[in-house]
């Protein structure tokens, strides 16, 4: 009797799970397999490493993408953390409003925001027009590495602020009072209590900024100079240009996935070894 009812439940489970399992297999797992097939096969279906080997030419671009995205992530973190801290000290109603104005830009397409940003910073852009109007010389704000990093920081900042704010705002005030009671000045309180408790928010913020940064493609093309394009631009070119080369695009995608996977593993380890501060709040 007991085993019969158990079987019934598991049959029901199979039934209800079938649609999603099939969908996920077809459109999540198999596509990744297809990427690998393209990356490691020649035109006739044989195994080859030549696609991967051809990436040697792009080593510089890959390293540059990594470097730019690490830089953008760190800067975003350095802005988002104190920003969240200031917001957390506001009255609850003000916090809501402050939060709303952080989320609002996320609803507007990244492409048009980036375009507007560049129209501000262009050689003939609004900032330079304003500078010229009051008698200053033009600044060369665009088409350089700094502009690419700035563009990424601008677009991804909300994705760093939100997870950090969410964790930080839930810290029990009495923990901060306890730290103060036990001798912590403001700075010590941040270092010894706030920072370790917000680590989970920092980790998810880093992921949410690093992943789109390392794979970004429009921002670098629009804001950067000729030597600033990134993996995303490469992949796009290999697919949408006239002489498209899908196997190389697939190989590049494989490398990109590997980068993401490795950085996730590093982040996971980091958040776990730190005195169990990972999933506490």
């Amino acid at each position: 009797m007991k085993s019969k009812s158990k079987r019934k439940i598991s049959l029901g489970s199979v039934f209800i799970n079938a649609p999603y399992f099939v969908w996920a297999a077809l459109f999540i797992i198999i596509p990744l397999g297809v990427v690998l097939i393209y990356a490691f096969s020649d035109g006739e279906g044989g195994f080859t490493l030549s696609n991967m080997a051809s990436l040697a030419d792009y080593g510089g671009v890959i390293l540059r993408s990594l470097w730019y995205s690490v830089l953008a992530t760190v800067i975003t973190l350095l802005i988002a953390y104190p920003f969240s801290y200031v917001v957390c000290r506001l009255r609850p109603a003000s916090q809501k409003i402050a939060n709303m104005f952080v989320t609002l830009p996320m609803w507007i397409n990244l492409l048009i925001k980036t375009y507007c940003l560049s129209s501000l910073m262009d050689g003939n852009g609004l900032i330079n027009q304003a500078l010229a109007a009051i008698g200053f010389g033009r600044l060369s704000l665009m088409n350089n590495t700094g502009a690419v990093i700035f563009g990424m920081v601008y677009n991804y900042l909300p994705y760093m602020i939100l997870p950090i704010y969410n964790v930080m705002s839930k810290i029990d005030v009495s923990l901060l009072e306890a730290a103060e009671d036990l001798g912590c000045s403001t700075a010590a309180r941040v270092r010894r209590v706030v920072l370790p408790l917000t680590l989970p928010g920092i980790v998810s913020g880093i992921i949410m900024v690093f992943v789109p940064s390392v794979s970004t493609f429009y921002i670098s093309a629009k804001m950067g100079g000729t030597g600033d394009f990134m993996i995303g631009d490469l992949i796009e070119g290999q697919i949408h240009n006239q002489n498209s080369n899908l196997p190389v695009a697939a190989a590049l995608s494989t490398v990109l996935m590997a980068i993401i996977l490795v950085s996730m593993l590093i982040l996971n380890r980091f958040s776990k070894t730190d005195e169990g501060g990972s999933m506490l709040v």
Partner: protein, 372 residues
């Protein structure tokens, strides 16, 4: 140390949103004392504690520590430590690191931290728990960690904000004894906040009864119980029948239609007064021998005694007795002069001490109401 007072509050006033939380409070705490602030939620007891800790600054008045004014000294520079109501243990640190927190902040040499922390853990009976996660401990154990974490810094004063309210009744009793022992062993001044009068009476050297942001009475537990100053204190500490009376002259008071001999003196001639009769001080006698007569409207068996509600000339008295009586029975009541306590009229007169609407449900579950 001036006059042996470690903490002094002078004329302290504090308002939130125009509402007076503390109203010109004066208080001194002697060094080494176990002092309890007792009152209902919203009476200002926790606010007073937070002023001493430094989390709040009074609008008016001064706070002195060891004779030095400390109004503007931030909490982290005050030689006091706090046990928070819900302990406020750091979830990212284990037991050892929680206790070591204050020592690490004050840059205590590493080799001293280990022994000090272990001494403290021994004091609170938590040896061997060093590497446990605090989130995995029981309420009582968390409580002990909080005590160790505060005491390891050797504060001059330990502030305890309703530390036992989150524990179940049995554990609470054990911790009361434990806290008292720790206080004796360390000799540190304890300032304890509670809404539980039994807790206050059994643990303290001095009880400070508060209501409406004011101190109603300060004294030793026995004095507070036996000689309440007004109707509020009489009602809040234990059960009391509070009856309108007239103080005819010294040692003579009239209430419930009878003139009694009492032991209270120093009142004006024919002054209207509040008379307090504790339920356990009432003697039940045959109706013919009673000073006054009453009819039992309710009799409840309470285990070691019976609780009777007795209608005496329209006023309901609570009487406790070890003998069984039936409802609707008429009894006589006799009172020793010692059983009668006379108080001046106050703002609380007429608000408390009448059991006409009494039921166990309305006795108020103090654990249900939260802190102010």
């Amino acid at each position: 140390m001036k006059n042996g007072n470690i903490v002094e509050l002078k004329n302290v006033t504090l308002s939130f949103d125009g509402e007076k939380i503390l109203d010109s409070l004066d208080l001194s705490v002697r060094d080494g004392e176990f002092v309890t602030f007792l009152g209902r939620s919203g009476c200002g007891k926790t606010t007073t504690l937070r002023i001493i800790a430094g989390f709040l600054t009074p609008d008016e008045g001064d706070v002195f520590f060891d004779g030095v004014r400390i109004n503007d000294v931030p909490p982290y520079k005050r030689p006091v430590n706090t046990i928070f109501q819900r302990y406020a243990l750091f979830p990212h640190l284990n037991v050892f690191e929680n206790v070591a927190f204050g020592l690490r902040v004050s840059k205590t040499p590493k080799e001293e931290i280990g022994p000090k922390v272990r001494d403290m853990l021994r004091l609170v009976n938590l040896e061997g728990y060093e590497t446990r996660k605090v989130t995995k401990l029981s309420g009582g154990q968390q409580q002990r960690v909080a005590i160790a974490r505060a005491l390891v810094n050797r504060p001059k004063v330990l502030l305890l904000d309703e530390p036992l309210s989150a524990l179940d009744a049995k554990l609470r009793k054990d911790m009361q004894v434990e806290l008292k022992r720790i206080q004796r062993e360390t000799g540190i001044t304890f300032i304890f906040v509670t809404h539980d009068q039994e807790e206050a009476l059994s643990m303290s050297d001095t009880v400070v009864v508060m209501e409406n942001g004011k101190i109603q009475q300060i004294g030793a537990p026995v004095d507070i119980y036996n000689e309440p100053k007004n109707a509020f204190v009489a009602d809040f500490i234990g059960e009391s029948n509070i009856i309108d009376g007239i103080m005819n002259k010294d040692d003579t008071v009239t209430f419930a239609g009878h003139t009694f001999v009492c032991v209270d003196e120093g009142f004006a001639h024919d002054e209207p007064v509040d008379v307090v009769i504790r339920p356990e001080d009432v003697d039940i006698v045959p109706p013919s021998e009673g000073m006054v007569k009453g009819r039992i409207t309710q009799a409840t068996f309470k285990g070691d005694y019976y609780e009777l509600i007795v209608d005496v000339r329209g006023f309901k008295w609570m009487v406790q007795t070890t003998d069984a009586y039936a409802e609707d029975q008429t009894i006589g009541i006799a009172l020793d002069p010692d059983a009668i306590h006379v108080m001046h009229k106050s703002e609380f007169s007429g608000l408390y001490g009448d059991y006409s609407t009494f039921s166990d449900d309305m006795d108020g579950d103090p654990e249900a109401d939260d802190e102010e």
